[in-house]
Subunit: 329 residues, 3 copies
């Protein structure tokens, strides 16, 4: 892979999953691959799992990490091209990204959507310009529209726990107190479909996701019907794509409960975390053996490590100066 921002950046999905499983079995199997390489982790928004699991993944590969909360520790960044910078913003993305590119061999970036300007968000303007100006391999730590590291870990978890070759997976909309991005569900859908999973998406009317990601999935507005015979239920809230960024009022009946789960094929319950207990998902289910949320979070490390491995392999050839130094060492 040159970059890692969507499943479409992946040349060979099975090979990527195999690398993740290999790293899970033997976490330090590729400890020298990142030798003398630097991963930058830059955050425009909060992060817990992604920050820690990606940092740990870098350590497994022997990479150095430079991590920074760009929103808090650095200078306020101007993203608009052509802006006369006489306001509160101190540094333009062109310079900021260019400089980070000079210091890092791979750049991880987290940038959430505005949820007010759909065109802007779905153009991924921040991510795209970071890639352009930084000019090094970019690793998405969740962007405006996608969260590929999460989805890879999710697919890995499903493969590990599936009772059948092609399980039925239901992505089930959940209530929430805030308007959330569509990045996790968009991403989940495109990875499941690429991974040849039988995917059903269930949500209230008006909460259809962008079809670019869901084409090939079954859309079912009746949650109970959707859950029938499911092997996995992936619970997630998202705000409206069509009435952009709008939160659903009410919808509490969409919370997944043990009773609802009874309609499935003893399905496992998944969530990307953080989860609002007894709002999105019944606390009883989270604390039950049906829950895979801890396994998903654990797999984030191996997903990130597999991706970093392939980014390094593709972008830094074996006969690079770096490798020669390795031989000397």
């Amino acid at each position: 892979m040159k970059h890692f921002t969507t499943v479409n950046d992946v040349y060979d999905l099975d090979n990527l999953l195999d690398d993740a499983l290999l790293l899970k079995a033997d976490p330090f199997a590729f400890k020298s691959i990142g030798f003398n390489r630097t991963l930058g982790l830059f955050f425009l928004n909060p992060s817990l799992r992604t920050r820690l699991s990606t940092q740990k993944a870098a350590q497994l590969l022997g990479m150095s990490v430079l991590a920074m909360n760009l929103d808090k520790e650095g200078w306020a960044i101007e993203f608009e091209d052509g802006a006369v910078m006489n306001g509160g913003k101190t540094e333009h993305i062109r310079e900021a990204a260019a400089v980070l590119g000079e210091y890092c061999d791979v750049i991880g970036l987290r940038c959430f959507p505005t949820l007010t300007d759909r065109k802007e968000d779905y153009s991924e303007s921040i991510l795209v310009r970071f890639m352009r100006y930084a000019n090094v391999p970019l690793l998405s730590l969740e962007s405006a529209t996608l969260h590929p590291l999460q989805s890879l870990a999710d697919l890995l978890t499903i493969r590990e726990h599936s009772p059948v070759r092609r399980p039925k997976v239901v992505l089930s909309w959940a209530p929430h107190v805030k308007a959330l991005p569509q990045a996790v569900p968009n991403s989940f859908a495109e990875w499941m479909l690429r991974g040849d999973i039988d995917l059903t998406i269930t949500h209230p009317e008006g909460f259809e996701l962008c079809e670019d990601y869901t084409r090939g999935a079954t859309i079912e507005y009746d949650q109970e019907k959707a859950l029938k015979d499911a092997d996995f239920v992936y619970v997630k809230n998202w705000s409206s794509y069509h009435d952009y960024g709008k939160k659903k009022e009410g919808g509490d009946e969409w919370m997944l409960t043990p009773a609802r789960l009874g309609r499935t094929n003893s399905a496992k319950v998944m969530h990307c975390l953080p989860v609002r207990r007894d709002v999105e998902l019944s606390a009883k289910l989270l604390d039950s053996p049906a829950s895979l949320v801890r396994a998903q979070a654990a797999n984030r490390v191996f997903a990130a490590a597999a991706v970093l491995k392939q980014l390094l392999e593709h972008n830094y050839s074996a006969v690079s100066k770096n490798e020669k130094q390795l031989e000397k060492a």
Copy 2:
């Protein structure tokens, strides 16, 4: 040790002190013991000495560190069990701790008390639940009621500087502008008593510490009497345990001064830092040869390294997968 949250977690105190001294004499003596191991340092409150000294200790042992200000960089954490999470809190301690446990071999946690709910604080509910849900060895970086890494460094410092086998140590209450936790004095008392130190505690009436920690010490309300023949004076403010969390009005006469120190046996002066100059302790004493505050802070590194060494030894046996990888490497 399985965990390190109190002196009661320590099997052999002399052995722990010996390890600390060994590390002080030869800081990289155990550089491979933490190879391929990850220490998480998670802060719900500010930290300077503890953060830096523990991070440095991990480096001495070859451990990787993942550090994070959970209160600022992550998601707002809900601590209450059974909470319907429809408010401002984004993630429950059950999920947060479980996930951190997946990424770390040892978890360091700092969590201060409320100072409003004594039962809650003295149940150490945050620490206890972190231990339970993370399910890896826990290293207290100061909890609601105890600060064992500080106390170990203090005991080490006293052993190094003591003119006699069993010195007289006085823990002397000091004035302060804010209501402070009882963690440092509680912890100091339990470590001194376990270390067979002749401990006197002096404080205004109403500022008695919880007897669980002080049983065996001499309590003396008259500071001048208490100081007589002392070899060490440990200065510290704390708020009331009995009238929980209440700060003493006035009490300026309790500030340790050169005149007061004259009543001692040329005692050394100690403080855990940060210290309010000329409020808790005379600036003249802090800047005099009697002060051990810098030595105490320096010993924090070796105290933390000895503890991490024993946590790794106890919890990760020599024939673990990690060790096999070591052999391969």
Copy 3:
């Protein structure tokens, strides 16, 4: 070098530049020089380039890094000597610096000026007291009056790109929306003059820099005249030194534009970043081949690495305990 706070700390400038070029050609050439050594990076103000480039430089030399935002993550620091600490400040610089000195082999410190008290700022009271109390080699990450790491990278960039042995360099005042420190221009001037550069400084009347740094440079109030035959133009805003900390109202005509650059000898354009596009400097120039800003930022890594190398060499002799451990390892 014992410390690195000004060009006057440098014994042999050509040797330092040579080390930087050597590290640029072979970044891991000195990978063992920082083995078992710890660099502390402490920030009282925001930092992007300096933080990341210095951290990366430490990694190139095999040093461990302890980084901390002292203004946000630690305790509020009292800088005044003799203060009775009964207000909002929790820890005195005497204790804070002493403790950091115990944990680090080299301390990097960033501390901006007040811009209200010239005497205080130009005495470098924070930097000086940090050095005194920490008692380890100090690396300035930009202080109240100087930014030597930036200037070293600038001089390196000029040497690399100069068409002649002794180029004409113009430091050109630029408009800005805020009152900025004089640290970058002061420092730039003293490094250029020490490096035997033909330096002209142009700025509005009343914006003369402190002569301690500019003695030997040509001062020219007419920007057009100043730019004639220049090989490099270094663009930078600063507030008044004489009417201390005052920002210039207006002055927009001082912005460097392609038309103005036409008067030079096809000069290269430099800026330390962050830069306000179309306020300080025309965006067209920043995006043109004339711009060296990315090259300057890239050179920050090698400037910092060369400085760290020489600080380690000077302060930690080859027969130190550290080295003996190296032999054992």
